[in-house]
C-alpha cells in the first residue's frame, strides 16, 4: 500500500468517525450495524478463504456475546476483558471441534452439518441454562456506552478486519489458504500443511466472530439465544459475503451495505403499503432470499469481482500490470538446486522395498522393490491399470502402504503426510494436472516456493527464476486455468521445481501431447536432471521414456516384471507381450 493511499484511508476513517456529531441517532445506529456486520462477514470470510463454508458461525458470535454478558452480570467484569475472554473461548472451542473434524476427514455437507449442529447445540444449551437466563437471555443492566463510542468501536473493528483481510491475501498464509481452497490435494503435494492451514483459518475466524458478537451485545445491551445463536445470524454473514464476493477485501463491506440499503428501502415501501413491522420484516427476508438465489445464478463471483472486471473493461489503463517493467534474469542463480555431491555417494537416494498396496482386497501393487540413485532418470512403464500411479501415491504419502517400506536418504517416509514428504525434498506432479485454476501462473509457483522461501519476496524471485527455466515466463500473469495442456504440464514442473526438491516424481507428463510437444517436455526433463535433480517418471507412452531414461522398470498388474537398460527392455519378450497382447507382433 502506498503512502498516498494510507493517508487517504486515514482521512476517510477520520471523516467516518466524525459522522455521529452531525447525524441522527437513527443514522448512527444503521452505520454501526453496517460496520459491525461488515466486520463479522469479514471474519466469516477468513474461513471461506480456505474454501470452507460454515453454516453455524452463530456459535462463535454467541459465545462472544454470552461470555461478555455473563462475566459482566455475575462477576462485574468489564466488557473490555469479557471481549478478550469471549474471543479466546471461541478460538479454543473452534480449535477443539475443528481439530477433530479435520482429523476425521469431515467434508462437504457433513462439515456443513457439523457447523450447523454446533450452533444449534449452543442455542439449546443457552435455552436450558438458568445461569444464562434461559430463553430470556442476559441483560447488561447498568452498562452504558454512548452510541458514538459503540459506533467508533464498530468502525474500528471494520477497519481492522479489512486491513487484516488485505494483509492475509498478501501473506504466505493467505497464499496457502487459497491453494487449499482451489485444490487440497495439489496444495498438500506442494508442501502446504492443509490441516494446519485450515485449522488456523477457522480458529482465527471464530475468535474474530466472537469479538463481533461482543460488540453486538454491547450495542443491544442484552444477549438472547435466538438472536445470538440463531440460524439468521449465520445466514446474514454468509449472505453479505457471498453478495459482495468471498475472498475479497471489499466484498463483505459492499455486500452488507447493499443488504442494509435494501432493508431500509423495503421498510420505506412497507410503510407506504401499510403492511406493518412484521410484514416489512418478512418482505426483507424474502428479498434476501431472492438475492441469494440471484447471486448464485447470475454473479457467483460476487459484486466486487464483477465490478472489477467492468472497471478493467472500460478503463483498461488502470488495469495494466506493473509487471511490464524489465526484469533482469539470472539463469541458474543463487537459489539453484542443492550442490549435487553425487560422486561420493553410492547409497540409493530412494529405496522402495517390498511395497504392497491393496484397495479393499484388490491388490494394486505387489511386493515392488527398486532403488533410485542420485542423478539418474528412472522410467517406470506399464499398461494402464498396472499400478504406476498407485506407486507414486504411496511414495508421496497419499496412500499408506499395506506392506513394505519407502526410504528417502536413508530415512523412512512411513506415516508422513504428502506435505511432509514434499518438505523432505521429494516433489511430484499429477497425471491429471491440478493447477490452482483461478490463480495466476506465478502465484501457482509461489505456493510451491513457499516451502523453502522465508517470505513472499524471496518466493516470488525463486518462482520467476523457475518460470524462466521451464519457459513459461511470458505466461506468468495468465490465469492457470487458461493455459494449454502443454503449458499446464510445464506449470506442474515449475511448481515442483519451486519446492527445491532432490527428487521429482513425474506422473505421465507426456500423455495428451503431440510428438513435438513431447520433445519439448523431454528436453525440459533433461535440463532438470542437469541441475542435479533425480527423476522418477512413470509413463504409458513407451517411446517417450526410452529416449530419456537411464534405466527402465516395467510394471504389470502391480508386479515388477522387468528392469534394465531401455534397449534391453524393448526387446524383452515378456514386455512386448504385456504391451501388445497375446503373441508377438507380426514382423
Amino acid at each position: 500500500m502506498t503512502r498516498g493511499r494510507l493517508v487517504a484511508l486515514a482521512a476517510l476513517l477520520a471523516a467516518a468517525l466524525a459522522v455521529p456529531a452531525g447525524a441522527s441517532g437513527y443514522t448512527v445506529n444503521i452505520l454501526t450495524q453496517i460496520c459491525l456486520y461488515t466486520f463479522l462477514a469479514g471474519a466469516w470470510n477468513v474461513m471461506a478463504l480456505s474454501g470452507l463454508v460454515s453454516l453455524g458461525h452463530a456459535a462463535f458470535f454467541g459465545l462472544g456475546g454470552y461470555a461478555t454478558a455473563w462475566l459482566y452480570v455475575t462477576h462485574g467484569v468489564t466488557p473490555a476483558l469479557g471481549w478478550i475472554a469471549g474471543a479466546v473461548l471461541a478460538g479454543a472451542v473452534a480449535y477443539a471441534v475443528y481439530w477433530v473434524a479435520f482429523r476425521c476427514g469431515l467434508r462437504g455437507i457433513y462439515f456443513g452439518g457439523l457447523t450447523l449442529v454446533l450452533a444449534e447445540s449452543f442455542r439449546f444449551a443457552a435455552i436450558n441454562s438458568p445461569a444464562l437466563g434461559r430463553s430470556q437471555g442476559l441483560e447488561l443492566l447498568g452498562f452504558h456506552m454512548p452510541s458514538a463510542a459503540v459506533y467508533a468501536l464498530a468502525l474500528g473493528l471494520m477497519a481492522g478486519g479489512m486491513l487484516l483481510t488485505w494483509w492475509l491475501l498478501r501473506s504466505p498464509f493467505g497464499y496457502r489458504l487459497h491453494a487449499v481452497r482451489e485444490n487440497e490435494l495439489a496444495a498438500e503435494a506442494l508442501g502446504v500443511d492443509t490441516f494446519r492451514s485450515k485449522l488456523s483459518a477457522t480458529v482465527l475466524s471464530a475468535a474474530l466472530t466472537a469479538m463481533g458478537g461482543t460488540a453486538h451485545a454491547l450495542l443491544l445491551r442484552f444477549v438472547e439465544p435466538e438472536s445470538d445463536f440463531g440460524l439468521s445470524v449465520s445466514l446474514n454473514l454468509l449472505l453479505g459475503t457471498f453478495l459482495g464476493g468471498t475472498g475479497t477485501v471489499l466484498g463483505p463491506a459492499v455486500g452488507i451495505t447493499v443488504l442494509f440499503g435494501l432493508r431500509e428501502a423495503i421498510a420505506l415501501v412497507g410503510e407506504q403499503l401499510a403492511v406493518g413491522t412484521a410484514g416489512v420484516y418478512a418482505l426483507q427476508q424474502v428479498v434476501y432470499g431472492l438475492i441469494l438465489m440471484l447471486v448464485v445464478l447470475l454473479l457467483p463471483e460476487g459484486l466486487v469481482r464483477v465490478a472489477g472486471s467492468w472497471v478493467r473493461r472500460w478503463w483498461p489503463a488502470r488495469a495494466t500490470h506493473a509487471a511490464a517493467a524489465p526484469r533482469t534474469v539470472q539463469p541458474g542463480a543463487a537459489s539453484g538446486p542443492r550442490a549435487a555431491d553425487a560422486g561420493s555417494e553410492t547409497a540409493p537416494l530412494l529405496q522402495v522395498a517390498g511395497l504392497t498396496r491393496a484397495f479393499e482386497g484388490l491388490v494394486a501393487l505387489r511386493d515392488v522393490s527398486f532403488e533410485l540413485y542420485r542423478g539418474e532418470i528412472l522410467g517406470i512403464i506399464g499398461p494402464n491399470g498396472a499400478g504406476k500411479t498407485t506407486l507414486f501415491n504411496v511414495i508421496s504419502g497419499i496412500h499408506p502402504p499395506t506392506a513394505g517400506s519407502v526410504h528417502f536418504r536413508g530415512q523412512s517416509l512411513a506415516a508422513l503426510t504428502p506435505s511432509q514428504v514434499c518438505r523432505r525434498g521429494l516433489a511430484r506432479t499429477f497425471q491429471v494436472v491440478r493447477p490452482f485454476a483461478s490463480l495466476s501462473v506465478l502465484d501457482n509457483v509461489i505456493i510451491g516456493a513457499l516451502v523453502r522461501a522465508r517470505d513472499l519476496r524471496r518466493a516470488r524471485e525463486r518462482s520467476e527464476e523457475v518460470l524462466d527455466f521451464v519457459g513459461l515466463a511470458a505466461r506468468r500473469d495468465a490465469t492457470a486455468g487458461a493455459l494449454t495442456i502443454q503449458d499446464r504440464k510445464l506449470l506442474e514442473f515449475a511448481r515442483a521445481l519451486a519446492t527445491d526438491p532432490e527428487v521429482i516424481l513425474l506422473d505421465e507428463v507426456m500423455a495428451g501431447l503431440n510428438p513435438a510437444e513431447q520433445e519439448r517436455v523431454a528436453a525440459t526433463i533433461r535440463r532438470i536432471r542437469d541441475r542435479g535433480i533425480t527423476l522418477l517418471l512413470i509413463e504409458h507412452v513407451m517411446r517417450a521414456v526410452m529416449g530419456l531414461s537411464d534405466r527402465v522398470l516395467v510394471l504389470d498388474h502391480g508386479v515388477l516384471i522387468a528392469e534394465g537398460k531401455p534397449e534391453a527392455i524393448v526387446r524383452d519378450p515378456e514386455v512386448i507381450r504385456v504391451y501388445l497382447g497375446g503373441s508377438p507382433v507380426p514382423a
Binding site: 494402464n384 500423455a511 504409458h540 517411446r543 501388445l580 497382447g581 497375446g582 508377438p584 507382433v585 507380426p586
Partner: protein, 235 residues
C-alpha cells in the same frame, strides 16, 4: 454405411482435443481405434455417443445427421457404448445393471429373452445375478459392462478399452466374446491398447495421434506398420 463421421472436432474448454477425425464404418464390420494415451480415442467415442459437445464436423448414423443428439436418443437408435473403466452402477446388483442396458421400451419388452442370450455368453454371471456389481472382480465387471451393452440390442457396439486392468487370461476371454458378438452380426468399434488382440478381431483400424487420424487401413497392413509399433514401443 452404418456410421459416417466427417471432420469431427471437440474442445474441452479452450483446448482442442480432436482436430477433424473422419471414420466410416459399414454394417457388420469390426473396427479398432488405436493410439497412445491422450491420443483422443476415448474423446472420439464419447463425442460420438453425445456425451461431449461436438464443436465441428458431422456424424451420420443410419443415414441421419445425429451430431447434436443426446446420448439417450443415440442409444435408442441402437448406438450403444461400453465405457472405459466399465462405469457400472456399483451399488446395484448385477441383474439390475444388466436390466438398465434396456434403454428403450422395445428392448425392455424383450429383456428376458436378451438376458438369456447374455447369460449364455457370460455363464460366470449366472450365479452372481444378485450380487452387487461393485463387489465383482475386474473381469466379471467387464463382462457385466459388455452384457449391459448387449441388453440394448445394439446395431453398433462401441467398446472403450474392454481389456483395461484385466489379467491376460481374461483379456483373451473378452476378445473371444467380441469375436462371437461380431459373428452374430453386430457392428463393433473397439478402442484398445492390446493391439495384437484388436488387430485379430477387427478387419480394419484407425490410428489416432494427437487428436488426428495418423493412419488407417486393414489390420494386416497396420500390423506390419512400423509406425504403429513405434507409437507403442518407441523403437
Amino acid at each position: 454405411m452404418l456410421l459416417r463421421v466427417r471432420d469431427l472436432q471437440v474442445h474441452y474448454g479452450p483446448f482442442q482435443a480432436l482436430f477433424g477425425v473422419s471414420l466410416e464404418i459399414d454394417e457388420g464390420e469390426a473396427v479398432c481405434l488405436l493410439g497412445g494415451n491422450g491420443a483422443g480415442k476415448t474423446t472420439t467415442l464419447r463425442a460420438l455417443m453425445g456425451a461431449l459437445p461436438i464443436s465441428g464436423g458431422t456424424v451420420e448414423l443410419l443415414g441421419q445427421r445425429v451430431e447434436h443428439r443426446a446420448s439417450h436418443e443415440l442409444a435408442a437408435m441402437g448406438m450403444i457404448h461400453v465405457p472405459e473403466g466399465r462405469e457400472l452402477f456399483p451399488s446395484l446388483t448385477v441383474l439390475e445393471n444388466l436390466e438398465l442396458g434396456c434403454v428403450t421400451p422395445g428392448t425392455r419388452r424383450r429383456s428376458a429373452e436378451t438376458l438369456a442370450v447374455v447369460l449364455d455368453l457370460f455363464p460366470a454371471l449366472r450365479g452372481r445375478r444378485r450380487q452387487l456389481a461393485g463387489t465383482l472382480s475386474g473381469g466379471e465387471q467387464q463382462m457385466v459392462a459388455i452384457g449391459r451393452g448387449l441388453m440394448g440390442r445394439p446395431k453398433l457396439l462401441m467398446l472403450d478399452e474392454p481389456s483395461l486392468g484385466l489379467a491376460p487370461v481374461l483379456v483373451d476371454a473378452v476378445f473371444a466374446t467380441l469375436e462371437r458378438i461380431k459373428a452374430e452380426g453386430t457392428t463393433i468399434v473397439v478402442v484398445e491398447q492390446h493391439i495384437h488382440h484388436a488387430l485379430r478381431v477387427c478387419g480394419r483400424g484407425y490410428v489416432l495421434e494427437g487428436g488426428r487420424i495418423a493412419q488407417e487401413g486393414s489390420t494386416a497392413d497396420l500390423g506390419r506398420s512400423d509406425r504403429l509399433r513405434a507409437a507403442y514401443l518407441g523403437m
